[in-house]
Structures are given as structure tokens and as C-alpha cells.
């Protein structure tokens, strides 16, 4: 199966939030905190266990300029490495 068909989902215990102090989106999880830029925040928001990476890239392309599928693949990979999302086929 190809990386764009993977369906990411937030792991149990992971929460999305907005930090009024730093003025940015964050994800909170048992091991720590991840500060997100705008694109990353949008990606995390779409990791709902239904959208595939391909779907997420398409949704983002409608919202932001210059979104490349490869960038979304890489970002989702990093989120999985930090144990923020889990990946399903």
C-alpha cells in the first residue's frame, strides 16, 4: 500500500488545543507538547481516522497555496514518529 492511502488518526490520550500564551496551535500528549504551525495544525485537525493522506492533501490544497502531497506524507510520518497519530491501512 502506498503512503498516500494511509489513514492517520490521533492516538488515544492526544489532545489538540490552542495556546493563548504562545499564540499557536499545539498538541498535548503524555510525553510532551508539540507546537504546530498553521499547516501542521490543519493536517492534525484532519487526522480523524477517516481521511487518507491523499484526502488530507486535497482538502488542504483547497485552503492553502502550494500544498504538495509529499509534504503531507512527510509531516504525517513525523507525527507518527512523535506518537501523536497512529496509521492505519
Amino acid at each position: 500500500m502506498s503512503a498516500v492511502d494511509v489513514v492517520p488518526r490521533l492516538r488515544p490520550g492526544v489532545k489538540r488545543s490552542y495556546d493563548e500564551v504562545r499564540r499557536c496551535h499545539v498538541v498535548l500528549f503524555p510525553e510532551g507538547v508539540l507546537v504546530l504551525n498553521e499547516t501542521a495544525a490543519a493536517v492534525v485537525g484532519l487526522c480523524d481516522g477517516r481521511n487518507s493522506v491523499r484526502d488530507i492533501a486535497a482538502r488542504l490544497a483547497a485552503e492553502f497555496d502550494g500544498v504538495r502531497v509529499a509534504d503531507v506524507v512527510e509531516l504525517v510520518g513525523r507525527l507518527a514518529e512523535r506518537r501523536v497519530v497512529e496509521l492505519r491501512g
Partner: protein
């Protein structure tokens, strides 16, 4: 100015129904009469959130020993903080946990002492094992994520496979296998706790195999025994960099052990706002960044990775907190660590951590 902290370790109390000889709590425990009250803790959480804290670890001692724990959880969660309950599991009932979860506990970290009831209860100093199994069941029933934490030492290291199996049985998402860090009561009991190199080597093999077997099911975090390593741990990711600790009496510390360093200039939440303490106190600036470093750290490329190791360990083993962490092979004080490692193992049982209840 320093970056704001992400995490607050709130040591709500030093009281505890257990008396683990490996406990990292300070030998001088804070008495109940000196603990901060409910309103004061809520203020600490307000100030911490305003400063940038997003993660609150409610720990101790045993946080469940505080009757106002539900209010404290609700307050911290209400501020938008991620609330982690760090507990021995004693005192956790279905009703209490359901209430805590409803008020906003996001994650539970449960400690276990050993793989089998007899040995575990001997270390804990109380009949604790069965309570922990029950507590894990309650956490799972509520659907809360569970981390199991086991502190490893000479007396349980040979059963690390059993401890892994126990965490699986408990339904943990994550297992922290933390070799004992020698602070507080653990430092006092070091001679009874220090593992043998052959034990560490075998445990490392068991952990590596288990990690492969459990991939995708349970995450295994292995905290190594730093005395046996060539380089120190990146203690706290740097002094005053990411986290702060508030002790039961309101003392604000860069790490839970820092109270041992004399003349640090530790300040208290009763006297000064948390943000001022974080940014401007002598204690928090003493070892921030790299300017305080001496050789060999000052000119060492690894300083960005390990920040020169642990200041408390440097003080405890060399008498000066500004020295390189003596576990480092480049430290002129490494011989002290090697001397300790070469000592005959202490056959006596560790002394119990101080007062309970």
C-alpha cells in the same frame, strides 16, 4: 529572556502510604502542616498557565492523599492544561477515578514495584500489588490512557521480563522501565540498589526483544542506568529550560532534586509570582544555557545534547554543582563513580522512605 516552560511537576504532598526504598523524594520530606492549601495550588496553576505551562503532572508523594485532588484536577484542566495523574494506585476506587476523569484527568501513570506480589510488596513496604492490578483495571474501564512506570534496581532487574508481562496484563499503552536515579532516598540506599553489569546487560537484551515483539501495541521506554554509561543523561533538557517543579510547601525548583544544592536561592510561590521566579530568580538562572559551564563541558560538542548532565548529581558526587556530571567519562571526577561501582554489593535491604499517610 528564557523560553517559557511547557510542564509543571506539582508535588502536591510528600505523604504516601508506601515507603519504597528507591524513592527519589528528598530525605527531608515536607510535613503536612507545611503543604500549600487548595486556593494556593489553584493560584499556582493559574500562574503556570499564564507563564506558558500546558502540561501539569500531579505527583508527590501520593497525590491521592490530598482530599482536594478533584478540585485541583478540575482547576488545572479548566485552564486547558493536559493533566497527568502520577500515582501508586493506592486509594484509587472506581468512584474516585470516575470523578477525577470527569473533572479532566487526561492520562494516568501508575507505578509498579516488581513482577510478583511478594517481592513487589516487600519493596513498597505495604500490601500494594493487588491494589495496583485493580487500579489498572479501573483506568482501562474508563478508557483513559495508561503508562506503567517501574523503577529498576538490583532487587528486581532480573525479573524485567515479568514486569513487561505485568504491564501487558494491565493494558498499558506505554511502559517506562526506569533504572533508579540516585536522588533522595535512592541515594541513601544506593549500595543496596546498584545493579550488577551482568544484570543490566541481560535486561537490555530482554527489553530489546520485547520492544520488537510489542511494536504497535505497547511502547517501551527504557531509562538507562547512568552510572554505567560513558555520557550523562540530558537532565531536564537543560536547567530551567522546559519544566519546573513546585514542592509541597511551595518551593519552586528547576527539578525535583534541586533542593539538595546549597545556596541555590530557591524561592517560594508564597513570596513571588511564578513568572518572576522562572525568569529572574537566581536559582533558575544559575545553570541556564551554557555560560556557567567549565571545562571539559565548555569546549565539548556534546554539550548541546546533554547540557553537561545533572547539576544535582554533580553536587552530590563532587561537592560542586557547576562541575561536569561525574558519570561522564571526560569528567575528572569519574573515578568517584567507578569507586562506587567497584564496592562490594550491600547485602542488607534498603531503608524505607520516611513518613507515610
Amino acid at each position: 529572556m528564557a523560553e517559557p516552560p511547557f510542564g509543571l511537576l506539582a508535588e502536591l504532598t510528600h505523604r504516601c502510604p508506601l515507603s519504597c526504598g528507591y524513592c527519589s523524594n528528598p530525605v527531608e520530606l515536607v510535613r503536612r502542616e507545611a503543604e500549600l492549601g487548595t486556593a494556593r495550588w489553584c493560584e499556582v496553576f493559574d500562574q503556570a498557565r499564564a507563564l506558558g505551562v500546558l502540561q501539569v503532572h500531579l505527583s508527590g508523594g501520593e497525590p491521592l492523599a490530598r482530599g482536594d485532588l478533584p478540585e485541583l484536577v478540575e482547576h488545572a484542566a479548566g485552564l486547558g492544561c493536559y493533566v497527568n495523574l502520577v500515582t501508586s494506585g493506592l486509594g484509587l476506587t472506581a468512584r474516585r477515578l470516575a470523578d477525577l476523569a470527569a473533572r479532566g484527568v487526561d492520562h494516568v501513570q501508575l507505578s509498579v514495584q516488581d513482577a510478583r506480589p511478594g517481592e513487589a510488596d516487600l519493596i513498597a513496604g505495604a500490601r500494594a500489588f493487588d491494589h495496583k492490578l485493580a487500579a489498572a483495571g479501573l483506568v482501562r474501564e474508563l478508557g483513559l490512557p495508561l503508562t506503567v512506570n517501574a523503577v529498576l534496581h538490583r532487587l528486581n532487574l532480573d525479573r524485567v521480563d515479568g514486569i513487561i508481562a505485568l504491564a501487558e496484563r494491565m493494558g498499558a499503552q506505554r511502559l517506562e522501565l526506569a533504572n533508579t536515579q540516585y536522588y533522595g532516598w535512592a541515594l541513601r540506599n544506593r549500595a543496596a540498589l546498584l545493579p550488577r553489569p551482568d544484570q543490566l546487560a541481560r535486561a537490555a537484551e530482554v527489553v530489546a526483544a520485547a520492544r520488537e515483539r510489542l511494536a504497535g501495541r505497547m511502547e517501551l521506554v527504557h531509562v538507562v542506568a547512568d552510572y554505567h554509561e560513558a555520557h550523562p543523561k540530558p537532565c531536564m533538557h537543560g536547567w530551567g529550560a522546559r519544566q519546573l517543579t513546585v514542592a509541597p510547601d511551595g518551593d519552586v525548583l528547576p527539578c525535583p532534586a534541586a533542593g539538595v544544592i546549597p545556596d541555590l536561592g530557591v524561592e517560594n510561590v508564597r513570596d513571588r509570582p511564578l513568572a518572576d521566579i522562572w525568569h529572574h530568580s537566581r536559582a533558575f538562572n544559575a545553570f541556564r544555557g551554557f555560560d556557567w559551564m567549565r571545562e571539559p563541558c565548555r569546549g565539548c560538542p556534546r554539550k548541546e545534547l546533554d547540557f553537561g548532565g545533572c547539576r544535582c548529581q554533580a553536587f552530590q558526587l563532587t561537592g560542586d554543582a557547576a562541575n561536569t556530571d561525574p558519570v561522564c567519562s571526560l569528567s575528572p571526577h569519574r573515578a568517584e563513580v567507578d569507586r562506587v561501582l567497584a564496592l562490594e554489593p550491600e547485602p542488607a535491604a534498603p531503608v524505607r522512605r520516611g513518613f507515610g499517610r
